[in-house]
């Protein structure tokens, strides 16, 4: 863990910050595909359901001076994993709530996730709403089940970032994550540095705290 912290060291005036991101949404809306596109720039036409949750990291450069590293929790959408979700979003700095623009019900599910996040998660959490599978609609417009304007209006009133994305064509994927990164309190996070006390809202340091937790062995030591 410590080694990974240093790799982001700040030569000169460069800023480096690390944030926790969680993906939520109904099963089969394309959460894992979005992450795979973002992290590896790949796409599988056929993807099996995520089992449990997957943990990935990706670093993006916002400008010459600013690097943001995402630690991403890609959760499984099935109902039976619902009770585990708080573990993943509890200390998250940002969340991407995904729905499928060809499935109206998936937006309802997304809304309920947004509500839960706004109630239970970090008060400063940045939430983005992503309407995925835009490629399907580009091919066959009649497949669309959620109008862009409707989702956009909802996002505005709930204070969410909003994108229609396609993991398949990579449309808006990088844009989505970059927009999140830009809204994150990078200045604050990188000033506090990697060794500052963690656990505050907007806090970023996962490594140190978790090491302490590991040593203590107590369940409270974990910050997932």
């Amino acid at each position: 863990m410590a080694a990974r912290m240093q790799q982001g060291g700040r030569p000169g005036g460069a800023r480096f910050a690390q944030f926790k991101l969680v993906l939520l949404g109904e099963s089969a809306v394309g959460k894992s595909s979005l992450v795979l596109r973002f992290v590896k720039d790949q796409f599988d036409d056929y993807r099996e359901s995520t089992i449990g949750a997957a943990f990935l990291t990706q670093t993006i450069a916002l400008d010459d001076q600013t690097t943001v590293k995402f630690e991403i929790w890609d959760t499984a959408g099935q109902e039976r994993y619902k009770s585990l979700a708080p573990m993943y979003y509890r200390n998250a700095n940002c969340a991407v709530v995904v729905y499928d623009i060809t499935q109206a019900s998936s937006l309802d599910k997304a809304k309920s996730w947004v509500k839960e996040l706004q109630r239970q998660a970090n008060e400063n959490i940045i939430i983005a709403l992503a309407g995925n599978k835009a490629d399907l609609v580009a091919e066959q417009p009649d497949k669309r089940a959620v109008q862009t304007a409707d989702a956009e209006a909802y996002a505005r009133e709930s204070n969410l970032l909003f994108f229609e994305t396609s993991a398949k064509t990579a449309e808006n994927v990088k844009e989505l994550f970059t927009a999140i990164a830009k809204k994150l309190p990078i200045e604050q996070a990188s000033q506090r540095g990697m060794r500052g006390p963690a656990g505050r809202p907007g806090g970023v340091d996962l490594g140190n705290r978790q090491e302490a937790g590991g040593a203590a062995g107590g369940p409270g030591g974990c910050n997932c």
Binding site: K40, S49, T50, I51, F55, M87, C224
Partner: protein
């Protein structure tokens, strides 16, 4: 029918065993075998002893003409003749005779009056228990990966001795069926059919589409569906479909309905249906609380083997839901649709089912395969695991290419092979964990460990083929097959233990890299399985399976160069299935079986310590086959600590 059966017994037990024709004689024998399996066993055996299954009354409708010829002559002849020949090999210290002698010495008073084969059979069983018990008490080194090896052994090996079916063996219907299913020599009697199977297996895993809006393609799909060699269905007690390997709901709903009707008819009569044969397919049913599981196979597996497969599917469902939560769902609403809570686990069930259809040595033998490593190398890995062990770790596994490299576990908890099979299936058969390209945190229930609660499994995969710089995180997804992948699996009861176990993974990888173990593992993976002729130069053998009963592990050579492709492998596995059944079935009291057919000869050999199944070409003589078998046993004895994990890292 009675005549036939006694002739059968005569043949299989030349030393005058009391035929197990009545329930009365069955009971004590089972008790005897169990009673000596002391040590850490206990519960499972206890249960099977306390719950003698109710005898099935004979079903007159199933009476088969008694003129049915007994098992083929060459079959039985070889049983008789090959045994002495093997025993006479001076190199085989682990012979049945030795075991009997020892056993008799210890139990002299109890059984000295009888010198029958039945007694020696009991002795060998009791000796087996004692041997395993000793190995446990003999220190950690000799303890197996699974500390309660005897129980495990009994579960599956013992299944034939004290499983839930013995009563069946006494009914004429069963005998008729078993004569039909088990005694057929696949080489002599089935070639045309097995060739069909060989052809069909190529398409066995092809997807059957879904019925279109007008149902116009239903006929075609149904045809495709019917050509499948194997089907698995799971339905709820109220008849709701839960899982089917092939075909969508619309296509199969009629069949689910029929299955439900048949099953509930017999359940209503308090006489649950266990299996039947129809149209060249064997149907086996398993009822587990609120679930009914059905296997339909045209691959010639025995009922016990099919039932083991169904058990495994059931374990997978428990692994997703846990037993109490599943029972709660059904007690709240008997008409619960279990597909919803199980959503997304089809791939896991499919993975298991297809593994069974392809034929997996691991399932057949209920044992695990290990990566072959030098003893010192394995010890170094074990020591590293113990050094970096984090406080909340329950089990830690290093798995390479589907084979176990090392295990770390608490002294008082062992790993159930069935649980490990579920984990391996999740990691290597279902693609999602492997393809994710990251790390995973998976809640799962390991039913063999505890079927009431969840554990949490940290999984980190890395490819062993690319060797430069890029750490485990940067593993490119979807490269390489499962053959070059290394997984570190760390299991904890702590729901929030992810970061702790992740740190342990980092430490472990770092130390393994530093002390050179990682390179050792990688080169062992690259080497793959040795071929038969590398192991025993100049042998006639083409393939073998060797199971060490004490360690609940097996080893085998590469399928190449003789068995490539699905069809050939399936054929080989069918042969192993037959051999396995022939020495495990309740009616057979064989220690050695030699089997000659058109395209292969084979030998099965069972002792309390091991089971060995060898296959050679059709021209191989019995002597050369026996010689090959002996040389494998010698090789194993030399290599035992390399091919098996003996003990593992225990804390």
């Amino acid at each position: 029918m009675p005549d036939d059966s006694s002739a059968d017994h005569e043949a299989t037990q030349p030393f005058g065993v009391a035929p197990r024709t009545t329930d009365g004689s069955e009971q004590p024998e089972v008790g005897n075998k169990v009673g000596d399996g002391d040590g850490a066993d206990g519960d499972d055996m206890e249960q099977s002893r306390e719950l003698p299954p109710p005898p099935l009354p004979p079903r007159p409708s199933l009476h088969v003409p008694s003129s049915r010829p007994p098992a083929s002559g060459s079959f039985r002849l070889s049983k008789r003749t090959s045994r002495p020949q093997l025993l006479s090999q001076p190199t085989t210290a682990l012979s049945v005779a030795d075991v009997h002698t020892q056993g008799r010495g210890e139990n002299a008073t109890a059984t000295s009056s009888s010198a029958s084969r039945a007694v020696s059979r009991k002795h060998s069983a009791s000796h087996s228990g004692r041997f395993l018990g000793n190995s446990d008490s003999g220190g950690e080194d000799s303890a197996s990966v699974i500390s309660y090896a005897p129980t495990l052994d009994a579960r599956l090996d013992g299944e034939s001795l004290l499983g839930d079916v013995p009563a069946e063996a006494t009914t004429p219907a069963w005998r008729a069926l078993s004569a039909q299913i088990e005694r057929d020599n696949p080489f002599e009697t089935v070639p045309p059919e097995s060739d069909v199977a060989t052809l069909q297996i190529q398409h066995e895993f092809d997807e059957i589409g879904s019925v279109d809006a007008h149902g116009s393609n239903e006929e075609t799909l149904l045809e495709a569906w019917k050509t499948k060699l194997k089907h698995f269905f799971i339905l709820s007690a109220s008849g709701k479909p839960i899982y089917s390997r092939h075909g969508d709901d619309q296509l199969i709903s009629n069949y689910i309905g029929i299955a439900q009707t048949i099953i509930s008819f017999y359940q209503g009569a308090d006489d649950p249906l266990r299996g039947f044969t129809a149209g060249g397919a064997r149907f086996v049913m398993l009822s587990k609380g609120p679930l009914n599981l059905v296997a339909v196979s045209r691959l010639g597996e025995s009922d016990a083997q099919l039932r083991t497969q169904l058990e495994s599917l059931y374990m997978q469902i428990l692994s997703t839901l846990t037993l109490p939560s599943m029972e709660k769902m059904f007690s709240n609403r008997p008409s619960t649709d279990l597909r919803r809570p199980l959503q997304g686990t089809d791939v896991l069930l499919d993975g298991l089912a297809d593994g069974f259809t392809r034929g997996s040595p691991s399932t057949l033998l209920s044992a695990l395969e290990c990566l072959r490593l030098r003893k010192t190398h394995r010890r170094a890995i074990n020591d590293t695991l113990l050094r970096v062990r984090s406080p909340n770790l329950l089990y830690g596994l290093i798995v390479a290419a589907g084979r176990l490299v090392s295990v770390v576990r608490p002294k008082k908890h062992s790993l159930h092979p069935g649980d490990l099979h579920l984990i391996f299936n999740m990691l290597f058969e279902a693609g999602s964990v492997r393809a994710g390209g990251g790390e995973n945190w998976i809640p799962l229930c390991l039913p063999g460990f505890n079927n009431t609660g969840y554990l949490y499994m940290y999984v980190s995969f890395f490819s062993t083929s690319e060797r430069d710089g890029s750490g485990p995180h940067e593993r490119p997804a979807a490269t390489g097959g499962k053959d070059d992948e290394l997984a570190i699996v760390l299991i904890s009861a702590q729901k929030e233990g992810f970061y702790e176990l992740r740190k342990m993974r980092d430490d472990l990888v770092e130390q393994l890299e530093n002390n050179g173990s990682m390179d050792v593992i990688k080169s062992a993976i690259r080497k793959g399985h040795a071929s038969c002729s590398d192991i025993v130069p100049g042998t006639v053998l083409r393939h073998f399976l060797y199971k060490s009963r004490g360690n609940v592990q097996f080893t085998m050579p590469s399928f190449e160069p003789y068995f490539h492709g699905l069809g050939h492998r399936r054929k080989l596995m069918s042969l192993y299935q037959t051999l396995h059944e022939s020495i495990h079935s309740r009616t057979a009291h064989l220690k050695v079986q030699h089997c000659v057919g058109r395209d292969a000869t084979a030998l099965a050999w069972e002792t309390p310590l091991f089971e060995l199944y060898c296959v050679a070409g059709p021209q191989a003589t019995r002597a050369s086959l026996a010689q090959g078998a002996n040389r494998i046993v010698q090789w194993i004895r030399r290599e035992e600590e390399r091919v098996f994990i003996i003990g593992g890292a225990v804390f």
